[in-house]
Amino acid sequence: MTTTIDTDAPETRAPSATLAVLKRAGVVGALVAAAVAVALVQSGSGIVVWQSVVTGLLTGGLYGLIAMGLTLIFGVLDIVNFAHGAMLAVAMFISFGVVAVTGLHPYLTMLITVPALFLVGVLVHRGLLSGSGGATLENQLLITLGLSLLLENGLLLFFGAEPKNVGLPGETHLDVFGAVVAGSRLYAFLGAMALGLLLYWMLQHTRLGTAIRAVASNSAGAELVGINVRRIHTLTFAIGAACAGAAAALAVPLLSVTPTLGEQFNITAFVVVVLGGMGNVVGALVGGLLIGLVEQLTTIYLDGQSSLLGVFVVFVLVLFLRPQGLFGRRT
């Protein structure tokens, strides 16, 4: 089975493909501009729309970060990881626990959550998914779904349902041309972008990244040239999980930490993955930004009906018009 991970090095990519991507980006940009213009007409207040756009982009960065791990796992292993949200919750509780016990700065807990989730990823893949039990799609589904139930209820058992909060020391509010931006949200956004680029660079320019792309493209071929496919699978799953760990440390000051918080991101993250093209890391980041915008603009269009409504309208449209995602290739 082939996937949509970029398998060509950038310099060897056919110019027509680059052109097509640019064209699609242009179309998407035009659609976004039109959507913002309609929102302006609808609300009649520039500042409201501007604030929505800023908020949407900042929230979207977080969605992108969460979806990156998911899309990587899906693109390389063909596993739809239903436990991604639950892993995020686990990482958030680790982060919360570390802050509560040591008083460390929430962002520094990334030094713990990332390796911890990496390890969780290794254990889950080696222990549950890579054996014959995880061979079929149905089994993978049941295993990851079961794992998410196990993790969520484990957290409930140990920490209780009472929501926990982690404050960001020295929280400030910035004024961006009239829109208010909480410092914590801006840092989370910048962190998400940096991590996205880091992941992209890793995939494009390191031996490990090349091996991951080779396995994604053709695992039999990769095995023939001496790549340990099972090891690459485990590493990829672990890196995907570690992304959730990084996202958790960045997002922990923004949310109330509850065992079930993963649910609210799971659905959105799947939509982002499909929108951005399954397996496409940069696509996930862009898709996240778009979904963040769609959510906020829906609030303006429909006077605050469920923002998920707009998200799913976009989801259905993408599945209908361009099922391989905005930045994915036909397989």
């Binding site: 239903f82 929501p163 208010v180 109330s256 469920s306």
Partner: protein, 413 residues
């Protein structure tokens, strides 16, 4: 191809989720000897003690347990020769279908009456089971008014309904703002979008308009997915609203408080209507200064009643946490069933039902008088009270006869 697989997988996931929703078919009233013989009188308590509502569910189960202990300590049911009362408990897990089957189980085990359930959706199903089996069901916390529109004979409710709270909220807003010399002209409403928030916003809007206030903008949101309210509060700021009404739960209310602090809209007051956060110690401590001077109209334990103080002190001592209003309502609901048994002098659920309809009990929650149920099953003396967060404490501030301190009609920023 991949997309097709993903869709198939999502579809299977949805099926799996739906598979858990099969209801159980109750089979007529089956009151065994335990309920009518010489053993203790059984009262069934249905609360969500696992799952995301577990904190409140556990509080309420303990509240019901304390009521049973109090009844037994003061001699049990006198009209039955001092028979003791026993609480049989069940976990609804916050799910209507589980609540339904557990209600059936408790009735089969001989419960003379049921209390519960904290969630309107669960109570709806339990009310049907109670009606079918002709066993009285006294709701402690259940906001939805819809249950009482079916003409059920066996459903009763201690707390004021959603409509009553919202109407009081509009009423109190007009009076308090006028007393402060800044009558509320335009009210913005921010509410979560399920029955609870929408219902509260609808009745509030109608009542506020009747009192001459304008309502708008009105913005709803999805409490389970919302993670930032800056845009919504900016929308409020861009309007010329004097007051912001918020009907939501804990997590979203906290995010709204953060957004208000960031945007600093030009308001005279933040006004909670049936708000699930503003009267909780947890919100007060987590929001800190951000929540200062927020108002909240809701049902509440009667802070002026010495009996309530004694109960809450005992709860804190035994369970190490402040007793919430929901738990005090469970206490009242169990007392109502016990009073019904006392009145009936029988453990036959049909007689107990008539006993509850005739009974009067002194509530530990705020009310206009003793708990007494009207023909529709609603507590005719239920009342909402206005509270305000003042110096890190939730104080009752209005109406004056229930007030612990004066309302401070202003905002902190």
């Amino acid at each position: 191809m991949i997309v097709r697989r993903l869709i198939a997988v999502l579809g299977v996931g949805a099926l799996l989720a739906a598979a858990g929703c099969g209801g159980s078919a109750p089979s007529g009233a089956a009151v065994d000897a335990a309920g009518s013989g010489d053993g203790p009188v059984r009262i069934g308590a249905l609360h969500p003690v696992s799952g995301s509502m577990a904190v409140d569910g556990l509080q309420m189960r303990r509240g019901a347990q304390l009521a049973v202990e109090q009844i037994n300590e003061s001699g049990g049911i006198a009209s039955l020769g001092g028979r003791r009362v026993q609480l049989t408990t069940a976990d609804t897990q916050g799910k209507p279908e589980i609540g339904q089957s557990e209600a059936q189980r408790l009735i089969s085990d001989g419960a003379v009456g049921l209390v519960g359930t904290y969630q309107s959706s669960v109570s709806s199903n339990v009310a049907v089971v109670a009606e079918r089996n002709e066993v009285p069901f006294v709701m402690d916390v259940t906001a939805s008014d819809e249950i009482f529109q079916h003409g059920y004979r066996h459903s009763f409710r201690v707390q004021p309904g959603s409509a009553k709270i919202s109407e009081s909220a509009a009423d109190y807003l007009k009076q308090v703002s006028e007393q402060a010399g800044e009558p509320a002209g335009r009210v913005a409403v921010l509410h979560e979008q399920t029955d609870f928030g929408t219902g509260a916003a609808d009745t509030f809007e109608a009542a506020a308009r009747k009192l001459g206030m304008e309502v708008g903008p009105r913005v709803s949101y999805d409490a389970t997915t919302a993670s930032d309210f800056t845009s919504q509060i900016t929308q409020v700021k861009a309007s010329d609203a004097d007051v912001l009404v918020v009907a939501g739960y804990y997590g979203d209310s906290l995010l709204i408080a953060q957004a208000i602090d960031a945007v600093k809209p030009d308001l005279d007051a933040v006004w909670g209507v049936s708000n699930g956060a503003y009267d909780q110690p947890k919100f007060v401590s987590d929001a800190g200064e951000l929540g200062d001077r927020y108002f909240s109209t809701n049902y509440h334990f009667d802070a002026q009643n010495p009996e309530t103080r004694r109960l809450r002190a005992e709860y804190r001592q035994r369970f190490g946490a402040p007793m919430r209003t929901g738990a005090v309502l469970s206490y009242d609901a169990v007392q109502a069933i016990a009073a019904g048994v006392e009145e009936a002098g029988s453990t036959d659920p049909a007689a107990v039902r008539n006993g509850i309809a005739r009974a009067q009990i002194d509530p530990l929650t705020v009310g206009d008088g003793p708990v007494r149920f009207g023909p529709d099953g609603e507590n005719v003396n239920s009342a909402a009270v206005l509270m305000q967060i003042q110096n890190g404490r939730v104080k009752q501030v209005y109406p004056p006869e229930k007030a612990e301190s004066d309302p401070d009609y202003s905002v902190a920023w």
